[in-house]
Amino acid sequence: MNDDDLLRYSRQIMLPEIDIEGQERLCAAHVLLVGLGGLGSPAAMYLAAAGVGRLTLVDFDRVDLSNLQRQIIHRTADIGRPKVESARDALLALNPGVTVTTVPHALQDEALAEAVRGADVVVDATDNLATRFALNAACVRARRPLVIGAAIRLEGQVMVVRPDRPDGACYRCLYRGDGEPDETCSQSGVLAPVVGIIGAMQAVEVIKLITGAGDTLDGRLLLLDARDMEWQEVRVPKHAHCPVCGVPA
């Protein structure tokens, strides 16, 4: 790190949990961030600002006027642009020292597996169960930590999956069924800062996974009810016969 980097990250380096060693780990880390919507916007901005060296952004969508109420990485002038391009420009303006790779289409099968294998930590900032299941399965197979966030209306959830640990629950231990009805923010609405809270918490967990600071939300689901501003922590046990991380019944 040069003098500018030391100054840029000084407020973080002075934390004993991070220190210079943790900052160097962040600068050397590669995070795969899937979804540049309400969750991915704050998560990406905090990770870039905090100095995560490489960010790969995946999103097939383009910026729409109705996104701007909560997807704060995008600007009005970005309407119509691919979200990954809009996000890349914002991140590089925030921190030119970060390397940003963009993937303007959905990743599936081997392409998804390869992207997951190439990352140190994966962030699930998507908006539907099918994509979440695919990402979870890819992370379990590649043994990559996965930081999951979800939000709708005034409710949010955060959880960390650690496939590299034998007793860790995965997302499928929590959601068992197939083809559940999805409820999307575009159909049901979402309060803007709720995705901000959850996305920022995802960034915190990513930084802790990379630096080794503190305890992460491994197998612990945090539930936010922002209407009454209540947090609840639920321990999610590993399901012995989970179709993704368990053994067949």
Binding site: L174, R176, E180, D182, E183, C185, V234, V236
Partner: protein, 83 residues
């Protein structure tokens, strides 16, 4: 026996009478299971994805066998997948 039910997001449509915001008292026969409580509420089981009793996770396969007691707090969440 009387328990408290708390239904999140779209499940609020099945709140019993007397609800304040998303919380309601709910009368059940003594010894009712979590699965029976969900059935009496009328919530389609396919829409119940996360069940908590007094803040503890109840796995889907345990819902039929988990008995409720008076004053228990039963919380139900639909899938939250938005972002």
């Amino acid at each position: 026996m009387r328990v408290t039910v708390k239904l999140y997001a779209t499940l609020g449509a099945w709140l019993p009478p007397g609800a304040v915001r998303n919380v309601a008292p709910f009368e059940l026969p003594d010894g009712s299971s979590v699965a029976e409580a969900i059935e009496r509420l009328g919530v389609p089981p396919g829409q119940v994805h996360l069940v908590l009793v007094n803040g503890q996770f109840v796995a889907p396969e345990a819902r039929a066998g988990r008995r409720l007691a008076a004053d228990d707090a039963l919380a139900l969440w639909p899938p939250v997948a938005g972002g």
